[in-house]
């Protein structure tokens, strides 16, 4: 099999995975500031994109293993071939897109692990996967991450309400929106340093496997640049469906809750990555939002949506493993198999995009003005109408996320 051809395919797919990773995870940092009107949607995704770009350059220490010990790779274990990585990436990308289409936040790294596990099971047998590591690194953290973040956000929200309570005068809870900008930025930066690095690792290890780099070498500069740009572009394109789910689908978020939720997400993500117990950012962010929802008196959680999200977490690994395994099975036919994989993968990806256009998510800013109006308005008029509607939407978000005490209620409501 011509190795160069496989390596090129893997790199292209890895970059696309990085892109889907970016747009899948914009919501973790930016769903709450968009929901409360702390940031305009476009500004929020642009800020997240810049922070992801910066974050990707900050940390380029590549992991020694692609799968983080889940697959027994390296000396004495199985060799992960580039074709397995390719099959695993297809599984991860397709699962990321399916969950995005359904508006479900699910962990991109779990999708990647799942795809690789499936490919390794088919390509190297049952012994190649260390299932105790799967349990301790994927299954249990999926239960614990939302629990820890949820408790943190619940307590933080309670505290915030208790402290800012002003029975007779106006409270200043609108000020939490300023705080939200900082805590959300922290989450976005942490995401950039963690997640871009994963793709850099995959590409570098593929280059090593293909004999283009020395074992143990750092990622070449072009890999860093390309990965940083891909994740930033993905973040900027914004997974609006997931932003909608986290920003409004789970609970109705007020500014106080948004600040508490993002502060808890940032605290949990940073604590977990520095004290040696890795938790998924996506699951932490969802848990924080649920915790913040429960922390406000009168706040209600849409448990049906929460249930769907939890189901998605638990089927992420097996689902992308199934796709990864299937692709590896086809890939074993040789170069032709890889080509079939690539074509099939591309068909599914295009199909998902077509399906997403059929039921477009409200793109927050790009509000569609009545179609009939479009034909009679000039471009400038149309632009002004859109601008006006986005201003109104922003004002509405701010108004709804504020809570005033009864004092002065009449003035606020008008």
């Amino acid at each position: 099999m011509d190795l160069t051809y496989v390596v090129v395919l893997v790199i292209v797919l890895a970059i696309f995975f990085d892109f889907t990773n970016g747009f899948h995870d914009t919501a973790n940092a930016m769903a709450t500031p968009i929901a409360t009107g702390a940031l305009r949607p476009k500004v929020a995704v642009a800020l997240a994109a810049v922070l992801n770009l910066v974050g990707a350059f900050l940390s380029t220490a590549v992991a020694a293993t692609i799968s983080g010990g889940i697959i027994r790779e390296g000396p004495g274990g199985v060799d992960i071939t580039p074709s397995m990585i390719f099959a695993g990436l297809i599984g991860a990308v397709i699962w990321n897109l399916v969950t995005w289409l359904r508006g479900l936040p699910s962990s991109s790294s779990h999708a990647l692990f799942g795809g690789l596990i499936g490919a390794a099971l088919v390509g190297a047998g049952l012994d190649s996967v260390d299932f105790s590591v799967v349990l301790s690194k994927v299954v249990l953290p999926a239960l614990l991450a939302p629990l820890v973040a949820g408790i943190a956000a619940f307590l933080a929200t309670r505290l915030a309400y208790r402290i800012t309570r002003r029975p007779v005068e106006k409270n200043k809870r609108a000020g939490f929106r300023v705080g939200q900008i900082f805590t959300s930025s922290l989450v976005a930066l942490a995401h950039g340093t963690n997640d871009a690095q994963k793709t850099m690792g995959v590409i570098t290890l593929t280059l090593i496997a293909g004999g283009f780099l020395q074992t143990g070498s750092a990622p070449p500069f072009w890999v860093v640049v390309v990965c940083a740009c891909a994740i930033a572009a993905g973040t900027y394109s914004g997974g609006w469906r997931i932003i909608q789910t986290l920003g409004g689908g789970l609970t109705d978020i007020k500014a106080t809750q948004g600040f508490s939720a993002e502060a808890s997400t940032a605290a949990t993500v940073l604590a977990s990555s520095h004290l040696g117990f890795a938790l998924s950012t996506t699951q932490v962010a969802s848990g924080s939002i649920i915790g913040a929802g429960l922390g406000r008196r009168g706040g209600a959680i849409q448990w049906s949506t929460a249930g769907k999200i939890v189901v998605a977490w638990f089927i992420t690994l097996p689902a992308s493993a199934a796709v990864g395994g299937l692709c590896e099975l086809i890939a074993r036919l040789g170069p032709v198999g890889l080509l079939i994989d690539a074509v099939l993968g591309l068909t599914v990806i295009v199909g998902i995009f077509v399906a997403s256009r059929r039921r477009p998510a409200e793109q927050s800013n790009a509000l569609e003005v009545d179609v009939a109006m479009n034909s009679v308005m000039t471009r400038n008029e149309r632009r002004n109408a859109q601008k006006k509607r986005s201003e109104e939407l922003l004002a509405a978000r701010r108004r709804l996320s504020d809570e005033s005490s009864l004092f002065g209620y009449g003035q606020d409501a008008s």
């Binding site: 915030a160 922290l186 040696g276 117990f277």
Partner: protein
């Protein structure tokens, strides 16, 4: 199999630091609330915001590996 010790540490640190950061910011906002606020309240509020900002800066310090290695 699973390192419960480090999990407990992570849980305690996460919950504690989130509570501290949010409390600081909330106290700052509370001190700013009200019509006829006094000098002291204002200074207290800005002190709270400054401490919260230090917390965020510490977060950045933790994120950037070049700073703590």
């Amino acid at each position: 199999m699973i390192d419960w010790g480090s999990f407990v540490v992570v849980a305690v640190v996460s919950i504690g630091s989130a509570a501290v950061l949010v409390s600081l910011f909330s106290f700052g906002l509370r001190l700013l609330a009200g019509e006829n606020r006094r000098w002291g309240a204002r200074i207290g509020a800005y002190a709270c915001f400054a401490l919260a900002a230090l917390g965020v800066l510490y977060g950045i310090y933790l994120i950037v590996p070049a700073l703590h290695k």
